[in-house]
Each structure stands twice: as C-alpha cells, then as structure tokens.
C-alpha cells in the first residue's frame, strides 16, 4: 500500500516549520509499513491533483503569498474538483487564507482566493502571536499562531475548532480554522501534526479510505512522547 503526499509550494510557503506536517504524515505511514511518496509542487509546475492522497501547504512571507495567489488561481478549478472528490487537504496560515474567498489588505487591495472555504480575511495592524490550544472533534490541538490577517467565517462554515487559549481566526469569534469535506485550514504552526498525532491519523485515515476503501486500517502507534510534548506546550505562556 502507498499514499501520495503532495507538498504544495514547499519553497515559497514554508517559513514556520510547516514541513513538519509532511514529515509527520510520511513517518506515521512508514511506521505502519505503508509507503509514503512525497511530491513537491512549485509555482508553475503542472500537477494532476487526482494523483494526490493528501495535499499539504504552509505559510509564507507576504511576497511569496502574492506569487502563490496568482498560481492558485490557475489551479482553482482542479483544486475545487479534488476537494469535491474527497482528496484530503491541509492548508496552514497563508495558504489557508487563500483557500477562502479573498484577502483584503489594510489599504483595501484585494487578493482573490479560490473559495474552497466560505471565509474571508482582512489584513490587520497587530500580529496575533503566541501559543494556542483548540478544542476539536478530534480532541485538543496545540500549536503556535503568528498572523496579522483576521479571518471571518461565512454563515454555516464549519470551523476546525473553538479556541481555549490564544486568538484563532480573529480576536472576536473564538473559532479557529475551517473544514469543508476533507479539506482543513488552520493558523496553527508548531508544526501542527507532529504534536497532534490523533489529528494527523484522522487525515491519514480519510486518505486511506478514499484510496483503498473502507476496510483499510491504520494500526496503533506509541504516541507517548508526542502527547507529553503537546501537554507541555499547552502550559507555555
């Protein structure tokens, strides 16, 4: 058995250790005897998203986000089709924002998104920085947020979780991230998946079922260190 992990914009959108998400997914497959194939997709690279089982993308600097926004527009139809077909996506920070309808800068300029999630983001003056803890369907998630954009979910858009500590999508609503079919968006760095193994396995389980059917199972792993690290991180100021 094997799964294909597509790392979208590994060079452009990866300044906060979000590569850790790709590492976590790959190792957790390999430890169970499942081959993990990582494919790197740069701006401009042709890519057929039906080949991917999990698509992972991270956060980047403003300049990189602009380059990526234009590239995403060209892939918008393909990505929306893949989401509709049940491909698993995990988008963090800058790419999470671009998976919404639009990013409106402080000066009123608009950077269009691809509308996978029903949300929009507004540039702010003050960055929201710090350790963050969420409550989600898959248990608590622990990470670190660092963003100036305020994201507002549309009516009926499901968040990833509710904020127990930290800011989340914005400082008003106490929600964090977004979920649509098997596509997930979040502001959490850390990286997110290594310290939240139950959530990492939820992504893998969905991808396995999509590719190999309902009887595909993920065996258990010893996640003692990961859980201890998450507990410790949750207590940091």
């Amino acid at each position: 058995m094997r799964l294909v992990i597509a790392h979208l914009y590994p060079a452009e959108m990866n300044i906060y250790g979000d590569t850790g998400n790709v590492i976590a997914l790959s190792r957790r497959l390999e430890w169970r005897g499942i081959d993990a194939v990582v494919e790197r997709i740069a701006v401009g690279d042709p890519y057929d998203f039906t080949a991917a089982d999990v698509v992972v993308a991270g956060g980047g600097e403003d300049r990189a986000q602009l380059a990526v926004a234009a590239d995403l527009q060209r892939r918008a139809g393909d990505i929306r089709e893949a989401v509709a077909a049940g491909t698993v996506f995990l988008t963090i920070c800058g790419t999470y924002q671009l998976f919404g309808h639009r990013f409106v800068t402080h000066d009123g300029d608009e950077m269009p998104g691809i509308g996978v999630f029903d949300l929009e983001t507004h540039g702010g003056d003050e960055r929201m920085i710090g350790n963050i803890v969420l409550d989600t369907e898959w248990g608590p998630l622990v990470g670190f947020e660092n963003h100036s954009g305020r994201t507002f979910l549309g009516e009926g858009q499901q968040p990833l979780g509710m904020v127990r500590k930290g800011y989340g999508n914005n400082e008003r609503d106490f929600d964090e991230g977004a979920v649509a079919a098997n596509a997930f968006g979040s502001y959490l760095h850390g990286a997110l998946l290594p310290k939240n193994p139950a959530f990492a396995d939820e992504l893998l389980r969905r991808a396995l079922v999509q590719r190999h059917g309902d009887d595909a199972v993920l065996g258990p792993l010893d996640d003692g260190v990961e859980r201890a690290a998450a507990d410790a991180a949750a207590t940091r100021p």
Binding site: P10, A11, N14, I15, Y16, G17, D18, T19, G20, I23, A24, R27, R40, E61, D62, R63, I129, G130, N131, F144, N146, H189, G190, A191, P194, K195, V225, E226, A228, A229, A232, A233, R236
Partner: protein, 426 residues
C-alpha cells in the same frame, strides 16, 4: 557637553547600583544615559577615528571577536561591545565605560549590532566598514520576515563607506552597490556546498554563486583538534589560518574578519596569524571542564545555525554524546516551529546518542523521533538534565551541548558557577 557629562555620570552610577544589587546587566548604564542624552552615542562616536559594524543573522559575535584580535595584533587600540549586548544600549554602555572627558580615546571601535537595530544605529555610527555575515530566517515572532530584516540592513549600508559582504548568500550579495564600495568574501565550490544559504534551506536547489568572485576566498577547511585549518586566498595571496573554532561556518566568519581587517589596512598575513589566538566566544564552540569531562557548547538560534551544528556533529566519529537544550523564552523565540526546518534527519545513523532538555525538551524529543534519531530521555529542568547527562559520559570523555540562547545561559551558569554572568540578553 554638560548634558553628555551628566548622562555619562548617571549611566555609570546606575551601572554600579545594578551590580551592587547583583543584577549584572550590561544594558543598564546605556539605557539610563541615553534617556538623559539621546545623542550620547553620536557625540561619543564622533571622537573615534573609525567605526566598524558587524551585523547579520549568524556569526556576529565570533566575527567581531576575530576582527578585534586581528586589529589588536596590528597594534591598533580597539573598543568593542561585550558579547551579545548588541542593541543601542549595549553600544552606549561600552562607550560610557571607556569615555574620558566626553571623548573616547581609541584607534577604532568594532561593534556587533543586532540586524533589526542596525537600521537606527547605522546613520549614528557612520561606519568605515560594515560586515554582513549572512541573512537567514530567525525567530519570526521577534524579527518578522526576512525581507524586512534585509531592508533594515540595506538602509544601514547607505551610511557605510565600505560593505564587507557574503558573496555566497543571495540575500547579502543582493545588498551590493548600497555602501560606498563593496568587498566580498566567500567559499570555493566544495566549501560553499557545506554552507547552505536560506534559500537552499527552504527547498531551492543550490546554483552558481549569487555574488561576484570574492576577494577573500575560503579554498578549503579541515577539522584540526577542537578547531580547524582553513586555506584562504586573500587578494590573490594564499594563506593558511588555524582556528580554535570548529565548523565551516567559522571559516566563513574568519574570511569575513580578514576581509574587514585588510580593508582597514591590516596586512593579510598579520590578520590570518591573529585568528589562531582567538578563543571561542561564550557558548560558540567553547569547551569547558566540568566534573572531569570536557563539555563543548554549540549555540543554535535558528534553522541555519542549527544546520551548521548538525553538519559538524554528523561529520564526527560515531558515539558522540549530545544534549540538545531548547528553551522558548523571548530571547530564544517563543515559537519552536523552526526545529522542523532544520535538517535533523542528518543525525540519523550517525551512531551518536541524544538526550534533550529545556522548556521545550519534549518538542525536541519529538523532532528527533521523527528524524530517526530518537532521544534516550527528555528532562526540562537544566540542573537535573545536565547532571544526568554528564553522569552518562565517561570520566575524561567529551560531551556536546547544543543549546538555544537562554538554555546556554542556564547551562553555563551551572558549568561555571563562579563566573560572573557577563553576557545578558538586552
């Protein structure tokens, strides 16, 4: 002038009071004096014939130390700021200490300046030479984006007569043409391949040298004892440099220092010879005796620096004992996501033994587990961890500590309890 004299006196008094209170703190005198006379630095610097600024992400402290050694070997009287005290207040504190009647009597001043503070300090120091060691992503919760840091450094270079630039670092080479004149240092292709810049770190393949052919070139660097032997070519002249500092990155620091020293009129052979006498700065490749063991410290602050330490460790004999200590205080960067950007995978299969400590000991243990180099244990408390770690090292043996900034201060305090905390993050 009276205001300046009062500011200096008040600063000194505040410094003495702070020491009596056992606070150490190299920032206090500068902080107090600058409040009384905001132009204190400008006024005191005006009496110094030449000023050198050393900035960049990694290697500032070591490059400063090397350059000071080279200038002193050439008979120059040098004033420099204490290790790590690299904001305006650190510079002001040092100037106050050495000022006599409102003047500083020296031939030259060499200041290490934080890459975010350099924008404001650049025009005030009007340096003859500004050295930019490298620019890499560093503590994004504190410094912000790399483009912003590069813009700070560019703005500072407009006030420098000569820029000494890393020809192999695309962000630094891109600053060419900003100062009055440029002088480049760099490595031969095999040396350069061992110093991945920020872009290669984040997935772009290494290509041709981004800057011009360097005037000071590291042709080769080989480990020797606890340090190394580096072959340099300085303006066409081949020289050998012995360093007490390990790692190819320190050969680059030596090249940067030689490029600056020779730009200031020091003979290349004198500069190269002086490098041999420079001992590592606090925690930067420094080795200390502790309970009958030799304990080496390799400070890491960001993924690029961590990769340099990893490369050094990966090249050593199997069986090295390594404790990685990761703290998440403000001076370390509160976000430890950067651990995932470092090539920790290169430690797998080295045959080394790893343990972790610090406030984020468990985060580092997770990182090592996913890299295939699992830690034997993780203990957040520095004292408990250090004792347990050293107990596992044979008497007479060698061990390596890889700490972040405040973890290094914690460990040095335990390793050398009698030594005053000279260095304080300011």
């Amino acid at each position: 002038m009276l205001r300046l004299q009062i500011a200096i006196a008040a600063g000194r008094l505040a410094g003495r009071a702070s020491q009596l209170l056992g606070r150490g703190g190299s920032a206090v005198p500068g902080l107090v004096a600058e409040r009384i006379d905001p132009r204190l630095i400008d006024r005191l610097v005006a009496s110094i014939p030449r000023v050198v600024v050393v900035t960049g992400t990694n290697g500032k402290t070591t490059t400063t130390k090397l350059l000071v050694g080279m200038l002193e070997s050439a008979g120059r009287r040098v004033v420099t700021n204490p290790t790590g005290s690299n904001l305006a207040r650190g510079v002001a504190t040092r100037l106050i200490e050495v000022a006599r009647r409102g003047r500083v009597d020296t031939d030259i001043a060499v200041f290490e300046v934080d890459e975010a503070a350099v924008r404001a300090l650049g025009p005030r120091l009007r340096p003859a030479v500004t050295v930019v060691t490298n620019l890499a992503r560093d503590q994004l919760d504190r410094y912000g984006e790399l483009d912003t840091t590069a813009a700070h450094v560019r703005s500072a270079l407009e006030h420098a007569a000569i820029a000494v630039l890393n020809a192999d670092d695309p962000m630094v080479a891109g600053l060419a043409g900003t100062a009055g004149a440029d002088r480049f240092f760099g490595g031969s292709d095999p040396v350069r391949a061992q110093m991945p810049d920020d872009r290669t770190l984040y997935g772009d393949a290494g290509g041709p040298r981004p800057g011009p052919e360097p005037s000071v070139l590291v042709r080769a660097a080989e480990p020797a004892g606890e340090g190394q032997r580096a072959a340099l070519t300085v303006d066409g002249e081949d020289l050998e440099v012995r360093l007490l500092l390990p790692g190819v990155y320190n050969a680059y620091n030596a090249a940067a220092a030689v490029a600056a020293a020779t730009a200031l009129g020091v003979e290349a052979a004198v500069a190269a010879g002086a490098a041999a006498g420079v001992v590592p700065a606090w925690g930067r490749g420094q080795t200390v005796e502790y309970r009958g063991r030799r304990v080496r410290l390799l400070l890491v602050k960001n993924p690029a620096g961590f990769n340099q330490a990893i490369r050094l460790l990966a090249g050593e004999e199997p069986g090295a004992q390594v404790m990685i200590s990761i703290n998440d205080h403000t001076a370390d960067g509160r976000d430890v996501s950067w651990l995932w950007d470092a090539r920790v995978e290169d430690l797998a299969g080295t045959g080394h033994r790893f343990v972790t400590s610090g406030t984020r000991a468990l985060d580092m243990a997770v990182r090592l587990k996913y890299a295939g180099a699992a830690a034997e244990w993780a203990e957040p408390d520095p004292r408990t961890a250090l004792d347990r770690f050293v107990d596992g090292v044979a008497a007479g043996g060698t061990a390596t500590l890889v700490p972040t900034y405040t973890a290094m201060l914690d460990l040095l305090h335990l390793l050398q309890p009698d030594t005053h905390r000279r260095e304080a993050w300011t």
